[in-house]
């Protein structure tokens, strides 16, 4: 007989952000049928309010650090960091979406519920300390994102994006699950800390073959979710086909959450066999940087270009993972935060510029934007410079800390190749800047409309975040440094 049917209230407070977001998402779904199409934007307001309360809930949960629900969830600095990050990404994505949805599909508001549920899943992933929770969080997040990718269901590009995302995504998740089943068979537990204990005790250590295969299978699943080579093939197609604000969302939020579980699983559970997985992550980091940067050189569609760029950025974070140290973990956390701001900002510009039916999504369409809308162009330039890694932007310090961590882990070749890759990347980002400022305004720039208020807020907030991380990196980095020691 259990002591009490109800969990202690500290446990409930530790999952406060998830509770708040679930309530807000349900509220959106209940209110959605009752509102007339022109009032659906109200639901966007509810979503933002819910996300803000959840951000407060994250701070409250952070006061009650420790494991909850029989070690299923753990609230530590690492969890708080990623929870806050995915919630902020959610807010920015909703801000970008309000005007976009009014224009493309005014009759439906369940979009906001899907964003909220996806954030719930990512938040669960951030705090999961257990393979079951990791799987559930991943699926809550993924299923909502599959639907979002195909949200404009009369648009063929959306259909194609959703079906490709779904098929490859669930295939990869199936492999992840198979890996989880084997590690459960090998270690007899699904708790990450317990797995670590079993693997590091020589008398208990299970057959190395079983552990190796399950770590490899789980790597397939995680590498897919973070779009690391050789499992990155889906990303360009999905990012290009999905609605622009959804791409902004899924290139930042789910990716950060996937890196959170990746780091947690490989830095706690599989740490005793780190000499086995380090070379694999090393190779994957290398391939990811090359594929992302070199394929991006050839792109003309700006969403596809940014998709390849997002693959390349996943490669830089993989460098930090393969450093396999607390400094590496902190560097990865900082980079993901900087990346979230600059990438969502860049996609917010795409959202604004694409217009009805996403007509203008080629790099050449941006010609002359610098003359027509100097402010938007200047903000876009900040994001692009940050993506290159120019000083005074978050992207610079992100790369700096990652390569510093790589050098301290004696990964000299990876550092050299990473730096060369950043130089290659500068070419395709600068090309956008050149088109924007030095080409004669084309038809697309002539007809550009003023920036919608939601997108404007998202743009300014992302730019502020990017510059803040570039000028005062210690604000986030100190927190990341203190949180990088995971529960072991």
């Amino acid at each position: 007989m259990p002591a009490s049917l109800f969990p202690p209230y500290e446990d409930l407070l530790r999952i406060l952000p998830e509770i708040v977001l679930t309530i807000a998402g349900t509220l959106v779904m209940v209110l959605e049928p009752a509102l007339r199409p022109e009032r659906k934007r109200l639901l966007g307001g509810i979503a933002i309010a819910g996300l803000l309360v959840a951000l407060w809930g994250t701070a409250v949960a952070n006061l009650f650090r420790g494991p909850a629900f029989h070690q299923m969830v753990v609230v530590d600095g690492f969890a708080t960091f990623f929870r806050a990050l995915v919630i902020v990404v959610g807010i920015l994505a909703v801000l970008c979406s309000i005007h976009y949805l009014q224009r493309e599909r005014p009759d439906s508001g369940e979009y906001y519920a899907l964003v909220l549920f996806s954030v719930v899943g990512q938040s669960v992933m951030a705090a999961a300390n257990e393979l079951i929770m990791i799987f559930i969080g991943l699926e809550i997040s993924s299923i909502a994102t599959y639907v979002l990718a195909g949200y404009l269901r009369d648009d063929r590009r959306n259909n194609e994006s959703a079906i490709k995302y779904f098929l490859l995504g669930s295939f990869a998740t199936a492999f992840l699950l198979y890996g989880i089943a084997w590690i459960y068979g090998a270690a007899g537990t699904t708790n990450l800390v317990e797995i670590r204990r079993v693997l590091s005790t020589p008398e208990l250590a299970p057959p190395r073959f079983l552990v190796g295969v399950s770590a490899a299978l789980m790597f397939v699943g995680f590498a897919f979710k973070v779009s690391a080579a050789p499992f990155q093939v889906w990303a360009p197609d999905v990012y290009q086909g999905a609605p622009a604000p959804v791409t902004a969302f899924m290139s930042a939020g789910p990716k950060a959450a996937a890196f959170a579980i990746f780091l947690r699983v490989y830095m706690t559970a599989f740490e005793p066999i780190s000499n086995r997985w380090e070379p694999v992550v090393w190779l994957s980091a290398l391939a990811t940087m090359f594929v992302g940067n070199f394929a991006a050189l050839l792109q003309n569609n700006i969403k596809r270009l940014l998709a390849y760029s997002s693959i390349a950025h996943a490669g830089y974070v993989m460098v930090a993972v393969s450093a396999h140290s607390e400094i590496g973990t902190a560097a990865a956390m900082f980079y993901l935060a900087a990346y979230a701001f600059m990438n969502v900002g860049a996609f917010a510009v795409v959202t604004h510029f694409a217009r009805q039916g996403e007509k203008y999504v080629d790099v050449d369409d941006l010609a002359g934007l610098g003359h027509r809308q100097p402010v938007t162009a200047a903000l876009f330039s900040i994001f692009l410079l940050s993506l290159i890694g120019i000083p005074l932007t978050g992207g610079f310090f992100g790369k700096f800390y990652i390569f510093k961590a790589a050098l301290e882990a004696k990964l000299y070749w990876l550092t050299v190749i990473g730096l060369l890759n950043s130089a290659v990347a500068a070419y395709y980002y600068l090309r956008i800047l050149v088109v924007m400022y030095f080409h004669e305004p084309g038809e697309a720039a002539q007809t550009v409309s003023p920036v919608a208020p939601g997108v404007k807020i998202a743009l300014w907030a992302s730019a502020a975040g990017t510059l803040l991380l570039g000028i005062f990196p210690s604000v986030i980095l100190d927190f990341a440094d203190r949180s990088a020691a995971l529960m072991k």
Binding site: N159, I163, F166, S170, L177
Partner: protein, 102 residues
């Protein structure tokens, strides 16, 4: 002596995994690809329940129930996406979905 051991379950599960993987990689029809993914998930469930029985630990069985529930949700979403695709393109063949490429 119990005739069925863990090894038997694992062999069955690996066989199902292979059938499912080959199905995903070689079939063109998206509905059959979905069925193949379900096969892999069932391979996972067999493993989980067998190990759970072996350890006398209930976690594996609970996990299997979660996998079944999530797989059902996933299939629902997949069929929804597929119907939207079919309405616009009149096809369920994976290689005819080729609008986005470089």
């Amino acid at each position: 002596m119990h005739p069925v051991t863990n090894v038997h379950y694992m062999v069955l599960s690996v066989a199902l995994l292979l059938v499912g993987t080959i199905g995903v990689l070689t079939r063109r029809n998206i509905v059959i690809i979905l069925m193949s993914i379900e096969l892999i998930l069932n391979a996972v469930n067999i493993n989980l329940v067998a190990f759970s029985h072996h350890f006398g630990d209930v976690h594996g069985q609970v996990f299997a129930i979660f996998v079944i529930a999530v797989a059902a949700a996933e299939t629902t979403v997949a069929l929804g996406i597929l119907i939207a695709l079919f309405r616009n393109k009149e096809t369920v063949l994976a290689d005819e979905v080729d609008l986005l490429k470089w």
